[in-house]
Symmetry: C2
Subunit: 378 residues, 2 copies
Amino acid sequence: MSSRSCQMTLFINRGKSDDDLIIPLNDSLSGTLSMDFMCAKTTVMASPFLTEDRFWLNNKEQSFENKRLQNCLKEVRNRANPKLPEIKWKIAICSENNFPTAAGLASSAAGYACLVSALAALYEIDGDISDIARRGSGSACRSMYGGWVRWCKGLRDDGVDSIAKQIASVEHWPEIRVLILVVNDSRKKYSSTDGMKRTVETSEFLKYRVQNVVPLRIEAITSAIKEKDFNSFARITMEDSNQFHAVCLDTFPPCIYMNDTSHLIVELVHAYNEHKGTNKVAYTFDAGPNACLYLLEQEVYEFLSLVNYIFPPASGQKDYIRGIPVIEEQLPKESSLHIEPQRSGLLKYIIHTKLGDGPQRLYNPEAHLLNETGVPKK
Amino acid sequence: MSSRSCQMTLFINRGKSDDDLIIPLNDSLSGTLSMDFMCAKTTVMASPFLTEDRFWLNNKEQSFENKRLQNCLKEVRNRANPKLPEIKWKIAICSENNFPTAAGLASSAAGYACLVSALAALYEIDGDISDIARRGSGSACRSMYGGWVRWCKGLRDDGVDSIAKQIASVEHWPEIRVLILVVNDSRKKYSSTDGMKRTVETSEFLKYRVQNVVPLRIEAITSAIKEKDFNSFARITMEDSNQFHAVCLDTFPPCIYMNDTSHLIVELVHAYNEHKGTNKVAYTFDAGPNACLYLLEQEVYEFLSLVNYIFPPASGQKDYIRGIPVIEEQLPKESSLHIEPQRSGLLKYIIHTKLGDGPQRLYNPEAHLLNETGVPKK
């Protein structure tokens, strides 16, 4: 049983409240990216002939005792028909993703969404299973649906109502494009889980944000998406990204995820929007320095030219702009904005992509990652 | 009539509320630095023989129509004895400061404190004049006193009760030392006045901070200073610096004053404090990337060695560590912290100084910056 699933990106970042059940402090909202350029792929296999549970991730065998994996597996089996023989069989799991793990692009969300989708197919479970994916990696619950997805924090202590809901499909707003600017970064990486725990313990602003700011923004951005009001969508997205990082900075000791290049991207987006007289591009940053930018298709050529001019690739770099092909005309080498080109190599590369449809089951046996004995083909 | 005055550094940053009167949103607190290494110096002269008002700053003549200068001058004359003949005479003003203007070290606070002190001496005014200095540059009001100074925001619309008060003298805690790490920065400079205005207009966090956080912290840090409780003093100072910058980041578009080097300094201080098991060093950042660090005299040698190891000077650089001389033994080239030495030249230089006594009148005619005809000697 194989599935693939996509990476997603945040508009409204969440705060964590329960570490084990992974119940968030606030609702959050994100777009699910297309699987054309970035995706996770998982094959699961159950068989009476397997003698032990095994798990491979990106061609390396992992411990099956991983708590989050165990939580997902246990919950999927709970919901399956107890008469299903597969429930008692040992299983093999093989996962891989095609985006660089070191790039800080939250591959675990895609990975767990994919894993839970495959397990649900294996054990023949229907209905919403985003709460199961959530127990693997919080953000994975949103990746269970395509398009625009809201993670409702829920009210119950057991997390059963902490689930994802699609608020609009990809087709609703097909012109939306996404640019991911992967930033070169030499600074120490923080664990976002540890950081968020410290934020909950020490930030004076977090509670205010969760109670007074996020609920209004979630409603406002949902309306903006439904009305396809890009200007408002962009403003809320940027404001909320900034406020999320402000809360991280208000943590003691502070959590700093953005770096100087991230802030240059922020300046560039604001300068571009000011030049255009309205918000044409929106940035959002997760727990790392990489920028995720939203814009309409009609804006891609001009804005991408500007990014290419201001952030030139390292010398000799190939494939600087990846994903949806851009017309390889001579990109303009001038800018009407008062921002000087930076030294080359501040960005590793750029991914040009769009939103997608969420996890997909793969029926073609050639797509399976495991051979008939439950061992990776590679 | 000549005075000199010192630079000061913030613990609790203020938010601005009134632009013209310069009345702040919240109380703030700072230490006034010694004039041994950084100071402003001003000579004012009134004479019936002067035919026009003139003003020189750092050897360049400036417009006398400067609104802030006019506000200060008007207010000083209002309080003088109206029978004093000097009030009707034209005046010459000459100011200079010995710290690099481009370093972002808030020379206007020292400058206006110095100017208002000199004008007060000229027009024979007694009593508190910190509210007058405030109208030149908000922070200047705190620089009117030495040691530890609180700027009480006041309650009146006309700002008459928005004044500075000394909460402890230098002698109260003589072991306090200050390290100013002047950071190399290539990014665009923001005007802190414009930035603060935008913060007042757009930050959701600012109001919460002003009403709920700052009042408690001001009391807590005042107690910590009075009790010479360095651990608490340091924690509040760092928390508040971080929260001030969090509010700047929560502004739309965001104001970013700290850069990657600033954040490396933050990491270094936290790593050092963790290693020591208590807060031995505190950082605070104003509207720029430079760090102002507080520590006790006994900690200077070890911590400065560490800074010198982790932030090596640019090759060939002289006078990297300025101010109070440090014993020039071979500074240790190893560190017990898990922070790698950075590439050289991230810091321009380091100033090692302490707190001081506030503005001082200079009686020696050789110290005067103007000659007998009211023109700069230089």
